[in-house]
Chain length 317, copies 2
Amino acid sequence: MSLVVVGSMAFDAIETPFGKTDKILGGAAVYISLASSYFSKPVNAISVVGYDFLPKDMEMMKSHGVSLEGVQVKKDEKSFFWAGKYHNDMNSRDTLATELNVLGNFDPIVPTAYHDCDYLMLGNLAPDVQRLVIERLPNRPQLIVMDTMNFWMDIAWDSLMETIKLVDVLVINDEEARQMSKEYSLVRAAHKIMELGPRYLVIKKGEHGALLFHDDEIFSAPGLPLEAVFDPTGAGDTFAGGFIGYLAQAEKNDFEAMKRAVIYGSAMASFCVEKFGPERLIDLSYDEIDNRVNKFVNLANFDILPRKISDFLDQSA
Amino acid sequence: MSLVVVGSMAFDAIETPFGKTDKILGGAAVYISLASSYFSKPVNAISVVGYDFLPKDMEMMKSHGVSLEGVQVKKDEKSFFWAGKYHNDMNSRDTLATELNVLGNFDPIVPTAYHDCDYLMLGNLAPDVQRLVIERLPNRPQLIVMDTMNFWMDIAWDSLMETIKLVDVLVINDEEARQMSKEYSLVRAAHKIMELGPRYLVIKKGEHGALLFHDDEIFSAPGLPLEAVFDPTGAGDTFAGGFIGYLAQAEKNDFEAMKRAVIYGSAMASFCVEKFGPERLIDLSYDEIDNRVNKFVNLANFDILPRKISDFLDQSA
């Protein structure tokens, strides 16, 4: 099924306790496209880059089955740039630089070849831009998944609400869910957020895994306990890529399929953090992915024997 | 199988965003004994109380099949007392008062009737006292489970290490695991801690569930997402009670049984937080427990279809 991915293609400079990088490939659309390319091809990307974006990165993405027809190249502007430094616990970071550059006035183009879009992944971007892509597709996709962040809640609340109304699945983290709903309990937060539009909500909890909500159903996916997180940059986007990539090839998009999509997304994200930037996503083997998913199965699997607790008590006692 | 529980029996005064209590029944041995009594009877308690401990609380425990033969009553001292106030997020609290009273010189007595102990639960206490109970049992129990806290790491490290050496399962929270191991990664922390003695380690993560470690195996139990946590006091002890109570009646104590024990412990803890103190643990029905365990099954259950990811890609693309 045809998949369209919208988001930034950019440069990041990253510093973690394990080392630092110069400007390397980054951006939501890069992580999402690479992750989803292991599940469904082609991945039709919509983005904008500057004159400084590297042809070798374009080629790498194309070799993964990512179509760049919807990626505009601005000849006299620079690509979006972000620099950040992670703290020792890897759960928080300082932004050292944000240069919007080409993203400042991004007017997304939807090529005719993308018009049969069944699955639309709206990576983190201004909600106005996300909504423009929905409006510029001739038909509503079968499934629209949206990522966003606290930044847009702070500066573009009304536009965010307009866009959220239009999507099927929202993917955010726990802090963002609490900010959006003004509820501390994630159960209460989820119900408030689903009233804003999305039928499904994924709340990412970093090392603690992810929760999937739909009506009154909840699924809890474990986080894979890791010896070390080398670089968390892009893990959330990679999750989204695995999530929608899985769904784009699945026969159904019901709650059971969404649960599997959360596991595949989590597995892809667990690779992402093993190296700087998107490096680990570039040459994954299918065996590696299958083995990683099996780790999640083993991690979460338990059998409650078909006994009632009232059978436990030793009646002779 | 015979179960012995050691820990405090005490008074707590609790303040949460939902209200506050006067002095109410509390203490690790109370929560552990009540929770385990739903799985295995009798529960042989070892503790010490003062003249102020209420006969009605003694009777309530006895009515749950808890033997109090090992509970000393000090006629001229008061019971242990703790007062605390939880912050709005319920994840942190301030201790307002700690009066050791009878716990200050607790010299545990192991009645002859407790000598056939197969399962020993060492609730949070001075590690010297925990070790005395092991030494005063004529035979080593089949399984020794130990709880402890950061306080003992700060003031009684050497004694703690002596006791930890002797146990099969250690149950602590994530912050305590990091402090004990001086490792941030819980995987690394677990391996360091298991080298100190325990073959199994349970790391409780509050609302995020619990991790069970053994050799190179890991099991992740979900936390049940709740609309509200009314009072977290005793949740960790209640977890421990459900955990060892389940194991005390199980046919085996292998990794699969330990996984189930973590789920039953989590289910019991999820009841505990619904009301002040141990109130909710007093009149649970077996149906309520079975239904709660089923919630955990539904929460964690997913089926990865027996497909390889390489089958996903549409070869026609």
